[in-house]
Amino acid sequence: MSAEPATLDGAAVDLSVTGMTCAACATRIERHLNRSEGITASVNYATERARITIDPTLLREHGLDSVIDDCVATVIGVGYGASRSDHDDTTHSDRRLTDLRGRLVVAAVLGTPVLALSMISPLQFDGWQWVTLALALPVSTWSAWPFHNAMWRNLRHGQATMDTLVSVGVSAATLWSLWALLATDAGDIGMTMSMSLDGGDGTPHIYLEVASTVVAFILGGRYFEARAKRRAGEALRALLDLGVDQVTRREADGRLVEVDIADLGVGDEFLVRPGDRVATDGEVVEGTSEIDMSLLTGESLPVPVTVSDRVMGAAVNTTGLLVVRATAVGAATQLAQMARMVNEAQSGKAPVQRLADRVSAVFVPIVIALASVTIIAWMLIDGSVEKSFSAGVAVLIIACPCALGLATPTALLVGTGRGARLGILIRGPEVLEATRRVDTLVLDKTGTVTTGMMAVVEVRVSPGGDRDRLLSVAASVESGSTHPIARAITAATPEPIAGATEVIEHPGVGVEGTVDGRRILVGRARDTGVSPSWGRADVTVVEVSADGVVLGWIALADELKDSSLSAVTAARAAGLEPVLASGDRAEVVDEVADRLGIERRLAGVMPADKLTLVRDLSAEGRVVAMVGDGVNDAAALAAADLGLAMGSGTDVAIAAADITLVRDDLGAVVDAIRLSRRTLRTIRVNLFWAFGYNVAAIPLAMTGQLSPLVAGAAMGLSSVFVVSNSLRLRRFR
């Protein structure tokens, strides 16, 4: 949604509003906004948007930006948050990314010479240590600011995270080095740092390179992770794009007027032309047609509707002209409810505490305790304040592992990259870390385990008839239609197809046309007792007749994908219990479930039911992966622990899911889950090694044996190990 061009006719702009807790809040904001002259505002609580229409006079006098700024100020003044919604999310994450990049570049550029000077003795010219200090200070203060900031924030809540560890380690290293340079002979011009293990020449060590390197490594990890993060709210936007802006209203006197959707009220009658989206929920008052309700049910086969049938806003009208009386508008429509559901499902997903933070929460207090014990013990045994603090600080420094910053991002990056090669696009890599071991797999039927397309499965002809001839006449009549059944019949018929004349479509009934002088009708099979039994429940049957005489029947079905059976077997083998859920009829769902050998099944489900199913399964203590492709799957996809969208699916489903599968076969689902498990295991192993090397060095630090060489080696080795462990994910198959 962007601002419409500011023309002389005024302009309309959307603001996104945060902090509204009830419908009364929306009313309140609306009142305040409308108080300004030249502004007409309508605030939608469900979508958290305010649509502002600006009067042309006001626009000319003040300009678009200033008017919008005023509106934003008004909303904030009432006590809510507001921003231009066109680039809200983007600017926020972009700003964070730019900020991180700046800090990372400074840390890397200044940190590299610090590291080189400290580690390579021949480079140590007179006064080198003061140069490293000048280079390292901006790194451990400005570059490391996000860590320090987070540390204070956490401290107020009595918590310790990975940030705490980094901040404490960097601060200890920097302050100690600063003290050593200023107060001891480490600051003497001509001092060189011994890289020997004993470190026993009495000069306190300086650890500036440790501080700089840790900051650079961890910022690097953060940066790459932030870059890969998904943007929230995409699903909602895609869903709202399905809405209709303009509608043709039929006035009481029969006149037709084009009006804005906002001006349509409950009880108003409006026109839905063939090919149009239905503007809002309502009841058909005139006309007969077929409506594509896939939005609600996921089923692509259009549903016949006629007078007094209910239709849903955003569903697509296929063939006939309808007049519909609105029964719900705005936030009360099913589409708005679905948007709200997706939104709630997405925001209701509590952020899972990161593994690194969980480890840190335990690790940090232990380290601080150890450092204190070290200081006290040295004081008691040796009595030297300098030695006591030297050892204590060394504990803090060595406890902060470089590799910690690499453990999670490298595994996620490699896992994501490997996934992309396998046709598994991971939109939010963080889900790989957050997802516990998935044990339940909810499958949508249409378009997920089936192809989602109608295909001719069987043809039966009346005695004396001919199969090809039957298909050929049916195809002649159907060739001009885009109806899924028509397309399936045309596709099953060998070329060439003769065109029929005088073709008439009877919405909800069938198609009629003249072929070779005979009047051919292709329509839904009537239950006349003559139509044969097909031995399966999931077929749709059409009857073909010529001049009233039945020629035969064509059975069509949405067939299983070739890969579905083997994928369900593979899922079982991987310890996943499959569950089938569909908006389709129970007979059809049973047929498909039986053939796949799936026990747990649910038919006739509405979007809200799918969401409930996912929530119920979670409440049973299961970790749920959901696979779907339709708009009606979106909320469930967002709510599931792991949401997977088929690549052929709708934008809404793809935007709501964590993973998109490019390959259209179900086998990719099992691969994706296995990949997420492998990635999680890699992160765990990485964390173990990241901490492991450094933990091993803690006893050295406590006994005062730690030298920069050991510190550097511990960090270097653990980093190398972590990176190469992550790279092993590349061989995932």
Partner: protein, 63 residues
Amino acid sequence: MVLSVPGMTCGHCEAAVTTEVSTLDGVSAVLVDLDAKTVTVTGTSLDRERIVAAIDEAGFDVG
């Protein structure tokens, strides 16, 4: 003085009304009952007109 404000539904509404009405001269206490949808204002020399205007400012109608 007790006023009926049917539009209030949540703590946010309550806070808004309380803030607006409290700024008026002479008001010493504002008590909102969300269940009964009432606002009880106590103080000296209270002017109903001004209180209704303040509640309107907060975004609610006095019913």
